[in-house]
Symmetry: C2
Subunit: 473 residues, 2 copies
Amino acid sequence: MERDDFLDALAERLGERGLLREADEMARYVADWAGDRLGMPRAVARPASTEEVVETVRLCREHGVAMVPQGGHSGLVGGALPAAEGNELIVSLERMNRIRAIDPINFTMTVDAGCILENVKQAAAEHECEFPLALGAQGSCQIGGNIATNAGGLNVLRYGMMRQLVLGLEVVLPDGRLWNGLNALHKDNRGYALHQLFLGSEGTLGIVTGAVLKLSPRANQARTALLGVPSLEAVIALYGLARRDCSDLLSAFELIPRRCIELAMEATPALSDPLDQPYPWYVLMEISASGPLDLTALLEHLLEQGMARELVLDGALATSEAQSRQLWQFRESMLEGQRRRGEHLRTDISVPISAIPAFFDAASRSVMEASPDCEIIAYGHIGDGNLHFNILPPPAMPEADKREHLHALEARLFDVLDEFNGSISAEHGIGRVKQPAYLARLSPVERELAEGIKALFDPDGLMNPGRILPPRH
Amino acid sequence: MERDDFLDALAERLGERGLLREADEMARYVADWAGDRLGMPRAVARPASTEEVVETVRLCREHGVAMVPQGGHSGLVGGALPAAEGNELIVSLERMNRIRAIDPINFTMTVDAGCILENVKQAAAEHECEFPLALGAQGSCQIGGNIATNAGGLNVLRYGMMRQLVLGLEVVLPDGRLWNGLNALHKDNRGYALHQLFLGSEGTLGIVTGAVLKLSPRANQARTALLGVPSLEAVIALYGLARRDCSDLLSAFELIPRRCIELAMEATPALSDPLDQPYPWYVLMEISASGPLDLTALLEHLLEQGMARELVLDGALATSEAQSRQLWQFRESMLEGQRRRGEHLRTDISVPISAIPAFFDAASRSVMEASPDCEIIAYGHIGDGNLHFNILPPPAMPEADKREHLHALEARLFDVLDEFNGSISAEHGIGRVKQPAYLARLSPVERELAEGIKALFDPDGLMNPGRILPPRH
């Protein structure tokens, strides 16, 4: 092992399990879930306590070493992966995975930042509570990463983003001081909302080490339906009807195009076409409740109304948990089906819900004009105006040309998005991958404020530098 | 009229209706709703557009004049009232009261900051939507003030504070530049959440001129009940039961002590004792829905369960809107009854919901120890852990001694609160009134960050100076 004063000092403080320096040990920290965007860290620190995070940050500051806080590294914009230059220290929170306290009467839970989301949900359930954040990556993503990225997912229309689910935070600031904002208060109007600033800051303002999460009563019943819908306009109208008719019990309302049903069946041959005939669009919706309500009657009432207005053409209602899981299987398998098609453009955009049909038409026209043989696959969370407007490149295109071609199509898509006052990043964040598109759209005044905030918290520019904003020189 | 270059220039830009300089014209801008805490402004600017706010702020900056942004001035901590020295310019948003757009499909509404909350609620209702913020002052308070103070109120347990109800903001910064963050996007993870920083910043970081509000479907049915409850412990247990049993349809859960029922009957003689016999505590609760659910059955199920567990001893259920208004009348009249008792201590504190009974006991003991003849009146929003723990001074105490006595009791109360990790300001904010108690509890690291944020946005210290933080010298 090479001699390295900084790493030797760090190893002394964190112990043997606390610091990884060998390439093979570090391999699993340097790739995202898709296996791409490899980087190389100087080492991987694995502090086991808030105090050890404090010591790590102090040492980094003394030695001028840049830090990359890392959770489950399931992010999609390269925010938690090290740069290629090999000069950044990954600070993994994975050993800080303790549930510190659960207070079901206060509907709160205090956790270490390294807790895996699935474990948090499980612990809440054991106390008849629910932590409603629901993501594809919930088996590996960590609460600290959910906070850093202001995670969204499937149930945002009912429960909000991570921003709405966090009451308090404990953060090690870039200068090594600890900010203890671990309040378990549902209402607190003392001064500026610092904790909100950390939510969505992608690890650039400090390292979150603990959080107080807001819980809901655990749903003890749910009804799922997969509906065939004639048009995007009908999907939007059906959403409005469902919000009203289901009161606040609507917990998911997912848009799925016909192509995704086919991709799902390709990826999971056990799945058969869910309705008697194909429809251009599908809605996968769920209502859930924790009390004695007749959800079946509620869902049937909605479908009757939807059918009477020709917003729903056919539907499959799950009458058991197994059937419900099967319907959700389409949502999961379609992602696998997409992956199997190889390189493609994934986006994560949002527009006002009311603008979805017009935006989809305009964006599709613009993309198809430039690339008539590509294939558009747009699905998403209707209640959030959030579309994953993805593009498969023309099948005949040489592999080597695909990346550049897709990049050009993304630029066209974003231009259309600008006309609709949309967001180039609804839930994934900016990281490094989306930075050029973000900066190109950032007003001078907002850029100045953002840079001012970064400089205020991290004057030395060592905390996840180059993510969201370019590094200072 | 005295010659004043600054005011003359301002009058030229804002026109005759846009600037008030005479003491009689300014009178209604200098007192809060209780009529106390008078200040004296240099003048009252009443810009009629965002552009006029920009011009006002630029002129203030040129001339080094401090500004006090003002909405309906129904705040309770002196945040929007001018200082006594007569050097501050009130910037009233009252002429900016246009509803710019309503998009019921996107469940959003874009408004001028000077819109009165009641008018916003009315406009939403006309589109079958609901803007769920509900406050005593809703007939006069303005959206800009609701944003500046991160307003709370009666329905927070279901819909959240103002922070959860704002998607985008338009803000004139202290240097006169406009920040346009008027997004109508339900999901948007582009960089730091600047708009969240303005929420609750009490006008110290800029003047909010416009906002995009998040709407809900309009509730078309509600059920109200006033319940007699044996103890605070039972109130807390009943709250947990109600949250679960009513799914997410519980929209209010107010704690009322017996003394407040008496105060309400004193203030409104038409009210008679609501239940057959008196109970130590009452809960005024409401459930509401926008769809075809049997809320009566839901409420009856809850009450059966509550009675079986001896959490509820008796209850009055409103079966009409008129009856429901009558039950809510107790909540309103008790405030009037309190006012009639003359000078008293009003507080606005929060603790974890689970800590309410123990906190109430400890706080009561501490207060009664120091002042055996005072009277404690504690009511509040149970679902938010938010108590208005108020104190009437001993009846025999000379008027001249009351203020100091109550101040000493508040200090005792806050000391107990510290042991429970509570907040000295759950919903009212800091302003000037709560600043000493706030600063005394602020950690050095948090103070430094808060001061850094203030200096970043307002380097000249002209925007609502001395509110939240002391003025810089």
